[in-house]
Symmetry: C2
Subunit: 215 residues, 2 copies
């Protein structure tokens, strides 16, 4: 069977994905990468979908540092043509991880519910994001960091802006697969960017504060 | 030597800090916790400064999950009465960790510099925050996530808001020690909060997007 113009052999797949051949073979064995089209008993050819899948796996493994079993769940959701919301839920699960249960803090729950309501967010109360937010507010309260708890609304407003930009960024395409890939990769790669930008902003505002105090 | 009214024995220190006595003794041996005031050969008393230090160590260890040698650096900066900016630099180092060097990406550098300039941020180019931001932009470019790179300004605006609120939150006190503790703890504990709030916002905006597409 002949190779089609858009197809490539393993060596080319390695070159285009930036991954070593043994690594690609490992992902094939583990079922993370879909099999290629077999052209003879011991040869197969791959196409652009394989390149894209490998780029996704690489980002999840090296950028997000997710363990293999988590990558498998994300890849399965993308591969099965899940809906945007399903894919987002799987990605959030993967990113948040299992949130350790804490002693219930009704006051933290009430604070979080009010902010969610004020923002008009439609939140799934059993989603990992919700559990993580509740845990974070409870931690702040447990540490008596009331000055941060008092600013929950400000943080929610900034978070709303970031979430809106995240979703807008990937909504420009009509292709559902491409959109899901954007959400998955975007969630993983945007996080260190925002963290770093916030640190830069902190430096700036702390300097202004010190200058104001000195002036 | 008598115990003063504001002082306490180890058992009370354990109760008030929420840490087991062997854990406290370990932190004493490791030099993370300053020694108490010795009242006899084998007894010492502690005060509210010890309670506060233990709360800080506990937050850094259990909430931020920082390794002991990093906690030591943060604690040393706080203990030595460093300036707000110094304490922030140490905290940022601890939170960002060592940023792996990447192949230089001049385009990413130019993009980041423009955003920093547009925002009027005074950034130290050799700070870990700057290195982390550069790495994040480079990653996004390497993954061809141009739709996210194109929105760098939007993310920087949201980050500026978060950084401003962070600094404002801890600037309410006149006590420098308390301010530094707020910055350190706030940086560590606010991060999971914002991450979770962003996930909630993503859920919301993705649902709106799907509804718009269906409607």
């Amino acid at each position: 069977m002949a190779m089609r113009a858009t197809e490539m052999r393993m060596a080319e797949l390695s070159r285009r994905s930036g991954l070593a051949v043994p690594t690609i073979k490992y992902y094939l064995r583990e079922g993370l990468l879909q099999p290629g089209r077999r052209t003879s008993v011991n040869q197969a050819v791959y196409d652009v979908a394989h390149v894209e899948r490998l780029r996704l796996i690489r980002a999840l493994a090296t950028v997000a540092g997710l363990p293999l079993h988590t990558i498998r769940e994300v890849v399965r959701a993308v591969g099965e043509g899940a809906s945007v919301l399903d894919a987002m839920a799987v990605t959030q699960d993967a990113l948040v991880g299992s949130v350790e249960a804490r002693t219930p803090d009704p006051a933290a729950e009430a604070l979080l519910e009010r902010v969610i309501e004020d923002r008009g967010w439609h939140s799934h109360p059993d989603s990992p994001a919700h559990a993580a937010a509740l845990r974070a507010v409870s931690e702040l309260r447990a540490e008596d960091l009331t000055m941060l708890v008092d600013r929950l609304e400000d943080y929610a407003r900034a978070a709303d802006e970031v979430g809106r930009v995240d979703v807008e960024a990937v909504s420009g395409t009509d292709d559902l697969d491409e959109m899901i890939r954007g959400i998955v990769l975007g969630s993983v790669l945007r996080r260190p960017l925002l963290d770093a930008l916030i640190l830069l902003a902190q430096q700036h505002h702390a300097q202004e504060l010190v200058q104001d105090a000195d002036g």
